[in-house]
Symmetry: C2
Subunit: 202 residues, 2 copies
DNA sequence: GCGAAAACCTAGCGGTCATTCGAAATTGAA
DNA sequence: TTCAATTTCGAATGACCGCTAGGTTTTCGC
């Protein structure tokens, strides 16, 4: 009586299991995209059945959403509790770039998914639309703050500069993947950011 | 006797038919990528059967190869018989960018395919690897020529600058697709190229 | 130790995919 | 007009896809 119908919550290792699944999802989607990646491949990598995997994530699309959300949480943790502002924020991209070079799977995930998600009916479309808008906002604000601090040149137009920084970032990641990570992405990024500054940083 | 076994060559309209197929392939691959695009979709757009289509192109991979080759032929025709050099070559990218803005399908094709082709086993991988290498070579040479002509600043490093221009190009195209072509790609490109010049062009 | 929720499995469903095969239709040189 | 090469088709194949259903195993609060 007292026990029947009582929810007991998830197992102690459930969260760990889901992380395993998300890691495998990231790898499979980085290699083959959402369209080319399969639930079967993901399940095999985790060492569980498809049905078992679908107990944790209700559908392939739910997997995609979870892996993108997971990536954002990871990035937030990296930024730390206090987000820098102004010129500091801009140069923080170099640290993020260095971090990315240690995570080729993550770089691949975004390169592949951001491309195929340009299609309006792709399940990742809304995420990337929102993400580009948010990042551009963030960088524009950082540029404006930098101009107020006297660090960023006053002739820089925040909107176009933000867009170009993001474009450079995305484009470098693609070339980096084709060249098996054999060049340093931070260099060109720093050159661009330096060019926005009244006085470049060493 | 005289007629049996005599090859007669293809029909008069065969070449036109293949172009129709390639146009449909471009549209389908731009929307869904190689993985998500299907021979069924392509055949439906052309208004023929799958088997009929596969008479002209032996496989889905052959379709991809043909559509990429076709795109390169189109770009070559656009450049015209005489390839510009030095600073002229760099500014020619702005014309190419304007041309691209009239061909969203082509932009989409490259955005999606260049992403998913980062995977080494993707049938488009070798093509994009070669293409990036060729384009970087081309731009590096143009920068060096520009420096010799006194148009390009002598402190510009050709390799990194070439890489950044390509990255900017690719990254802008992705944002352009997400924003339904609502901004001008040439602006940021011109700003970057201007910055390489001793004296920017108006 | 019990008992039920949670997690997982096998098997299968309904559908799609790329491709093949044999036949029919079309084309165009003779 | 003939006739065979070329093009096209309908149907099918074998494999794979995302997902469901019902059952089994594991876990853990009591």
């Amino acid at each position: 009586m007292g026990r029947v119908g009582r929810p007991r919550g998830e197992y102690a290792k459930s969260a760990e299991r889901r992380l395993e699944i998300l890691d495998a999802t990231m790898a499979v989607f980085a290699e083959s995209g959402f369209h080319g990646g399969t639930i079967r491949d993901i399940a095999e990598r985790v060492g569980m059945s498809q049905a078992g995997l679908l107990h944790h994530f209700s559908s392939k699309q739910a997997l995609l959403e979870a892996v993108l959300a997971h990536r954002d949480e990871t990035a937030l943790k990296l930024l730390g509790p206090q987000t820098p502002s102004g010129a500091d924020m801009l140069y923080a991209f170099l640290q993020l770039s260095d971090f990315n070079e240690r995570m080729p799977g993550l770089v691949g995930l975004f390169a592949v998914l951001s491309g195929e998600s340009t299609a309006p009916d792709h399940p990742g479309h809304a995420y990337f639309l929102r993400r580009y808008a948010n990042i551009r906002s963030l960088i524009e604000r950082a540029i404006v703050e930098g101009q107020q601090d006297g660090d960023v040149r006053s002739d820089v137009q925040p909107g176009p500069a933000a867009r170009s920084l993001i474009a450079l970032w995305d484009g470098l990641q693609i070339q980096w993947l084709y060249e098996d990570g054999s060049f340093d992405m931070a260099g060109p990024l720093k050159a661009y950011i330096d060019d926005l500054m009244v006085v470049p940083r060493v």
